[in-house]
């Protein structure tokens, strides 16, 4: 388990010393959300209805943007080869890298979401449920995204391929999360959606590290 923390610490150190790789997806997230009122309508009634969708779609695209670099640099400089030839479980090492990705992308998105929610006139209960859905589902975005990132690791200019692979898998999360926020805003029960998001998280936590490890082995052959 020690190697899990060491990999996590290493990845966080690398990211902190190369802040553009962390800040770019977050800036994209904030800018894309802030453009919607200009394009659609600045009216509170309109924006509050679509706020959940805007924030959720933007956060998914921001996560997608950051996934390209999840394994790429380690593949380029040969660290992945060292990980593969190590006696430690590759799935555990990948889980650690996914955790670092979530800390650097998912947590900032969760922390920014109340501000952006208020900016889009989302009510208090809506903001609370928005944060809860992001907390439950952003780890799933990182976990599922790692499968795609490991499949395309050796392919150049593969951004579009990653989107084609991953976005269909993100759709259930998008549907349950945005519907939870919309329903909470009109006072309806949202437990079912939250349970679905939690189930997706457990499922992806169980499967994604193993599938990613297998994909990486194939990609590096």
């Amino acid at each position: 388990m020690n190697i899990y923390w060491q990999t996590l610490k290493r990845d966080l150190n690398v990211a902190i010393r190369n802040p553009s790789s962390v800040l770019n997806p977050l800036l994209f997230f904030v800018i894309s959300v802030s453009l919607f009122p200009l394009a659609i309508s600045p009216e509170a009634a309109t924006l509050s209805q679509i706020a959940a969708g805007i924030i959720w779609v933007s956060s998914m695209l921001a996560v997608l943007l950051s996934l390209n670099s999840l394994f790429y640099h380690d593949f380029e400089n040969g660290v992945l080869e060292q990980m593969l030839s190590s006696h430690h479980s590759l799935s555990l090492l990948i889980l650690s890298k996914i955790t670092a990705h979530w800390i650097l992308t998912g947590i900032p998105i969760i922390l920014l979401s109340p501000l952006l929610g208020l900016f889009l006139f989302l009510d208090n209960i809506g903001v609370k449920i928005l944060m809860l859905t992001l907390l439950l589902a952003t780890p799933s975005l990182s976990l599922i995204g790692a499968i795609g990132a490991s499949l395309i690791v050796g392919i150049k200019n593969s951004g579009m391929l990653l989107s084609l692979l991953i976005l269909p898998l993100y759709i259930p999360i998008l549907i349950f999360a945005s519907s939870a926020v919309s329903q909470a805003s009109v006072g309806l029960e949202v437990t079912a959606q939250l349970y679905f998001l939690a189930a997706i998280l457990v499922l992806s936590l169980m499967l994604a590290p193993f599938v990613s490890a297998l994909s990486l082995k194939i990609s590096l052959e």
């Binding site: 400089n77 040969g78 660290v79 060292q82 590096l220």
Partner: protein, 200 residues
């Protein structure tokens, strides 16, 4: 006494058969230099031995342990073409992590290894600021602290100056004298004593 056994190995890349029915036993204390022209399969062979590639046919064992086993992986170290260093991290930070992938870390031993390779004062220097030869020295410092029985070194002397080559050669010889096994590829002349040659 350990023995690395290669049984009827075949390797194919695309439509090219790189080598076929390769059988070999490398014993404790052996230094095996793998030679061949570009594209003859030297790196592919080392990657098969490191468990990174799967052969078309055949298998590899270290004593009774197959290449996929945890015991095999624990007893081998593979240093490839690539530096395996993150440019955002210092020499010591990189080495600490790469060593941790194989064994427990002894920070002082790593600093001593860097000093031995002429990198005293560079422990906390970011790898982005090092030359290609210095980066090679950093990664080769792993050999000085390694507990692995089998060293798989792909072009270890690339970018090294003659003094660097001499230091690494001495390290390989010492490893062999202590009962270790070393397989390496190089296009350069090597003054290693008692080296055996495998031509692909």
């Amino acid at each position: 006494m350990s023995a690395l056994t290669l049984n009827h190995l075949s390797c194919q890349r695309g439509y090219n058969l790189l080598f076929d029915n390769l059988s070999l036993v490398v014993n404790s204390g052996d230094i095996l230099r793998i030679t061949g022209t570009n594209g003859s399969g030297k790196t592919s062979l080392l990657k098969i031995l490191a468990g990174l590639n799967t052969p078309e046919q055949g298998d590899v064992h270290l004593d009774d342990y197959p290449v996929q086993s945890e015991e095999y992986q624990q007893d081998t170290i593979y240093l490839g073409h690539l530096s395996a260093l993150a440019s955002e991290l210092s020499c010591l930070e990189n080495l600490k992590y790469l060593t941790a992938l194989n064994q427990a870390i002894d920070e002082q031993a790593l600093i001593d290894a860097l000093n031995h390779l002429g990198l005293q004062g560079y422990e906390h220097e970011y790898c982005a600021k090092l030359s290609a030869g210095q980066k090679r020295r950093v990664i080769l410092a792993m050999l000085f602290v390694s507990n692995a029985k089998v060293w798989l070194l792909d072009e270890p002397f690339t970018a090294l100056d003659p003094q660097g080559v001499e230091i690494v050669e001495k390290c390989i010889e010492k490893h062999a004298q202590q009962g270790g096994i070393c397989l390496f590829t190089t296009h350069q002349d090597s003054a290693l004593k008692n080296q055996k040659i495998l031509a692909l």
